[in-house]
């Protein structure tokens, strides 16, 4: 356990030194919630009155941290460490390289959770945000979305052989997930056709789940649950099949 925490401390410091994960994972979503709060304030949303724009966006914005860690942080770190033979080097030590992967899983989970908590604190303190739905259901949904997206991130790391392809694939996956899933731009304002297409993104379904949980909506959640659990299972199975240590 001591080994794990020493690695966590050092690798954690390294993650904090690279500004982009902090910027995209934490500063950006907090900035957006402040903007939404300042623009819309306590006014109800136009389409579905009964709750404010902050309340309707909250479930989506907490996924920005997940998105940044799942589609940038995790796959790029693994591809980089594989390229530099750091993972290979762990095979000639008494510690399994799997421990290094777990260390990074924990670092990225912590980053996502900190991002979500800061968004919550900002919304709560400055804009009087109250969650309508059950907190427990929301936390559960959040964790499901997180592990599901992380398994897809691991899949990207498994399929990309070099850091260059990983970089390209991460950009191709990260930006559409960020902008089309409703994480940053409200899904409801998209044209119908775009909504249909974006509906195929796993994160879109994750956000549907989080949104219903945070608003306490009584909609059918079968589809989001199937997509998320499906992504999780497929991601893990294919990663185990294709993962390469070097």
């Amino acid at each position: 356990m001591k080994k794990f925490f020493t690695l966590l401390k050092i690798e954690g410091k390294l993650s904090l030194r690279s500004i982009d994960s902090i910027f995209f994972g934490i500063c950006m979503p907090v900035g957006i919630i402040i903007l939404i709060g300042l623009i819309a304030g306590p006014n109800p949303t136009t389409s579905d009155a009964g709750y404010t724009l902050i309340q309707s966006s909250f479930g989506a914005l907490v996924t920005v941290g997940i998105c940044a860690t799942a589609f940038m942080g995790i796959p790029l770190t693994i591809a980089d460490y594989r390229d530099k033979k750091i993972l290979k080097h762990f095979f000639v030590t008494p510690v399994s390289p799997t421990m290094l992967l777990w260390v990074h899983a924990v670092i990225n989970m912590l980053l996502s959770v900190i991002s979500a908590l800061l968004i919550y604190a900002t919304a709560r303190i400055f804009f009087g945000y109250q969650m309508i739905g059950s907190e427990l259901a929301f936390v559960g949904s959040y964790l499901l979305v997180m592990v599901s997206m992380y398994s897809l991130g691991l899949l990207i790391a498994s399929l990309c052989r070099t850091i260059k392809t990983a970089n390209v694939v991460c950009s191709i996956v990260y930006f559409p997930m960020l902008f089309l899933s409703g994480a940053t731009i409200p899904f409801d304002i998209f044209p119908k056709q775009l909504q249909t297409v974006a509906g195929f993104l796993p994160l879109t379904q994750g956000i549907r789940l989080l949104k219903s949980a945070s608003l306490g909506l009584e909609t059918s959640l079968l589809m989001p649950l199937i997509v998320l659990v499906g992504s999780l299972i497929i991601g893990i199975i294919l990663s185990m099949r294709f993962f390469r240590w070097e």
């Binding site: 690695l7 050092i10 390294l14 980089d80 033979k85 750091i86 080097h89 762990f90 000639v92």
Partner: protein, 240 residues
């Protein structure tokens, strides 16, 4: 004397290309053994197979009496490894990479001592990326010494080092040899091999041409120095 490393009938190929062809070698406790040969001769592949990093078609490998692939956790408490052209996490500092490696072992050496032995102690807080090529290479040898190994593997240990730094590394290694360290190395520098190695094995296209002590190998050739003797062995091979 006890055998530290035993390789028997090792065969490894990548598709149709044979990388290691029926290689046999033994390294005794306290011995410094050099694996020599041109680039692409199969030196790194051999080291990878000995360390259990690569699977091989047939043959057997024992290090300290253990199977490296099966008894990895136990074996690598006692074995230090420097892999060829190692690199490190971006923006990691010298002290941090030492601390991280030291954390992996039950009884690691004090890395501050090692840093001063290698004259790297002034870089403790510096990013590894800012070190010169030679300093990075010294650091990779230093990291292999952190487990306080009984057996040490060094793949191209002094590539990129200047004369002075090379002497520092040799100095540390000969001191450790006196304490009974077993050393398995590859190198392209014959002066280094002459200074450090007790026995050498020259390989070409995956099979061993000669395995002998350095003085005996020179004697068997028409030359006085290892470099000429080495080139002579390689030429004889081509003539056949």
């Amino acid at each position: 004397m006890e055998n530290c490393i035993e390789v028997k009938n090792l065969n490894k190929s990548y598709g149709h290309r044979v990388a290691v062809n029926n290689l046999n070698l033994t390294v005794k406790k306290g011995e410094v053994f050099g694996l020599l040969g041109p680039n692409g001769a199969g030196k790194s592949t051999t080291i990878d197979c000995i360390l259990g990093l690569k699977s091989f078609e047939n043959g057997s490998v024992r290090v300290l009496g253990m199977d490296p692939a099966r008894e990895r956790k136990r074996l690598f408490e006692r074995v230090g490894v420097q892999l060829q052209s190692s690199s490190y996490q971006g923006n990691i500092r010298v002290g941090e990479v030492c601390e991280e490696i030291a954390a992996l072992y039950q009884s690691p050496a004090d890395y501050h001592d090692l840093l001063s032995q290698f004259k790297l102690d002034q870089y403790l807080k510096q990013p590894v990326a800012k070190l010169s090529g030679g300093e990075k290479q010294k650091l990779s040898v230093l990291l292999a010494l952190i487990p306080q190994p009984e057996v040490l593997f060094l793949d191209e240990l002094t590539t990129g080092l200047d004369t002075e730094a090379r002497r520092e590394v040799w100095h540390v290694l000969t001191a450790l040899k006196k304490k009974g360290l077993t050393l398995f190395l590859t190198s392209h520098y014959m002066d280094e091999v002459e200074v450090l190695c007790d026995r050498i094995c020259i390989i070409s296209q995956g099979h061993a041409l000669v395995t002998d002590t350095v003085p005996k190998l020179i004697q068997s050739s028409p030359y006085q120095r290892l470099e000429e003797a080495y080139l002579w062995v390689m030429k004889e091979e081509i003539a056949l």
